[in-house]
């Protein structure tokens, strides 16, 4: 089951009904009650989107993973004002505290203009962005800034375990990457849209390396981090290929996952160097698919498809096991006494 099904459903409605090249954009014949081949669905409009967007949620299985991993969403998120540092607002104070910075870029949306109008383009890119926002928030992320089609997200805060937060961040962004690379890709390809993909950069800055302060003034301000590692996360994003996640050395060191999930970015191993200080900071390509496939919360079929393990496993129809069982006929070497 696709945990982003509701998001995909909206995107498919827009793709199916709003293709300019098929003249569908101008069709206003109502779909209700028309199932014949001649029926034309009316345009999926911004008001349809607004109505559907209000109902967007995630599968209970996805919420289940976040809960089991101990992710706690921040309530009342106001962009640019991380709740754990909101006390810095309207003060001249600064504070040092760790943070994980993640930059998510959604590339290729320009391709949509070849077949879709501005309204449809907005619906589609907005829905993808919303999927990213919601999955990050579910796993305890804080949306610091919306940057065009992309996002700048913080993971972490007061009294949140650093290693655990890194796990949450990597899981959320791996799940989002899987959605874009597989489910969305299929939907776009069916409509001849050249690929739309993500590029993600993530880094961790420790308590002594991240300074929190207010940027700007009055209403034109945000609470932000001044840290080499926030800057590097943005730079690393630029080194990520299509649907890739690039992370800094600190993430690798603290993630508590197999080293084999990280491979050095060959184009530029060191994303930052300070030879005078002997400081060479390595960036790594993160194998997010392997993280998902090895997760205890996710099942992988022999064809490589991943499924979030349901909260309660069920066997809908035992007869569907017969093909898997094949000719298997077990034996026992000893008889019960």
């Amino acid at each position: 089951m696709n945990p982003f099904f509701e998001y995909q459903n909206i995107i498919e409605k827009a793709l199916n009904r709003n293709d300019i090249s098929k003249g569908m954009n101008e069709s206003f014949k109502d779909a209700a009650g028309l199932n014949g081949p001649a029926s034309v669905l009316r345009k999926y409009t911004f008001s349809d989107y607004r109505a559907n967007r209000a109902e967007l949620s995630f599968s209970s299985d996805l919420v289940g993973i976040a809960n089991k991993m101990g992710a706690v969403p921040f309530s009342n998120q106001t962009i640019g004002h991380h709740p754990d540092f909101s006390h810095l607002k309207n003060t001249g104070n600064i504070e040092k505290h760790y943070i994980i910075s993640a930059f998510i870029d959604i590339k290729g949306s320009t391709n949509l203009f070849k077949k879709y109008d501005e309204e449809t383009n907005m619906i589609i890119t907005n829905t993808i962005q919303l999927a990213a926002i919601n999955v990050c928030q579910l796993f305890g992320g804080f949306i610091q800034r919306i940057q065009g089609d992309g996002l700048f997200v913080y993971f972490g805060g007061k009294n949140r375990d650093k290693n655990q937060v890194i796990q949450h961040c990597l899981t959320a962004l791996s799940l989002f990457s899987y959605f874009v690379k597989n489910d969305l890709k299929r939907a776009f390809e069916q409509h001849g849209i050249e690929k739309i993909y993500t590029r993600i950069g993530i880094d961790f800055g420790g308590d002594d390396k991240v300074l929190w302060a207010v940027a700007g003034k009055g209403n034109t301000s945000e609470i932000t981090t001044y840290s080499l590692h926030t800057s590097l996360a943005a730079k690393m994003q630029a080194y990520a290929g299509s649907n890739e996640i690039v992370v800094g050395q600190n993430i690798k060191d603290k993630a508590n996952v197999e080293d084999s999930l990280f491979s050095v970015v060959e184009d530029k191993r060191y994303i930052f160097t300070d030879p005078d200080q002997g400081f060479y900071y390595t960036q790594y390509k993160f194998n997010w698919l392997k993280l998902l496939r090895t997760s205890q919360y996710i099942a992988t079929s022999t064809t490589g498809e991943i499924t979030i393990k349901p909260q309660v496993a069920a066997v809908p129809n035992p007869e569907l096991l017969k093909q898997v069982i094949g000719e298997n006929r077990p034996y026992a070497k000893f008889k019960d006494k």
Binding site: S301, I325, E327
Partner: protein, 220 residues
């Protein structure tokens, strides 16, 4: 054990079943971890903790499967041996597959996954999808009874002794006096017997004779 082949085969298994890990101990290798089971429509059903021991003379020996998550009772009626191993098929089939050589990925596809799926099937229906073999020497007799299509132990012993020691031609009349050519009668059984190791045949003959003795004892 050819290292390049075994390493390549293990890498294939680890790619297909990513929650498994290779564990090496002195001369032995085993695969340990979780394995996910799906139905034919791709619906996830359950996961099992397993250990698969790779034989030293891989691929010319049958691997061993152990279920480590205790998801079902470890008793003979669930086809778990006294040593805790899972009896994924008849001893004769295991012998034949070992003799021919079985890659570790085929072992997973043909035995591990089907056996675990069969356990789920049993949990939900109370029966095995293709039936099962009886336990111990009764299962050995059942195997030959079905292979030779006979009822009595003496007949099974006679046929096993005969087929394992004689050479047959396809177009000869069958030894069983059915009047059919051998290729239309007992050829399939003959082929199977020829695929067994001499040790297997010896053990099976001994077991059948023991059962025959027990039977006679009961009759008296």
């Amino acid at each position: 054990m050819q290292n390049s082949k075994i390493n390549k085969d293990i890498a294939q298994v680890l790619d297909c079943y990513p929650k498994l890990a290779l564990v090496k101990k002195k001369n032995s290798k085993c695969l340990i971890g979780d394995i996910d089971v799906f139905d034919s429509k791709g619906t996830y059903l359950d996961s099992y903790g397993i250990r698969v021991n790779i034989p030293v003379n891989y691929p010319y020996s049958f691997p061993e499967l152990f279920e480590t998550s205790q998801k079902f009772p470890h008793i003979a009626d669930r086809h778990i041996s006294d040593d805790g191993s899972c009896c994924v098929c008849s001893l004769q089939e295991a012998d034949m597959m070992g003799q021919k050589g079985i890659s570790i990925i085929d072992y997973f596809r043909l035995y591990v996954i089907p056996y675990l799926a069969n356990q789920i099937y049993f949990d939900h229906t109370g029966k095995w999808a293709n039936g099962d073999y009886e336990h111990g020497i009764y299962g050995i007799f059942q195997f030959y009874r079905e292979l030779f299509k006979v009822e009595r132990i003496e007949e099974a012993i006679e046929l096993l002794s005969f087929l394992s020691t004689n050479k047959m031609n396809r177009n000869d009349l069958c030894f069983c006096e059915s009047g059919l050519k051998f290729k239309r009668c007992h050829l399939e059984a003959y082929r199977k017997i020829k695929g067994f190791t001499p040790k297997r045949i010896l053990v099976d003959l001994t077991a059948l004779k023991q059962l025959e003795k027990e039977d006679k004892g009961t009759m008296q």
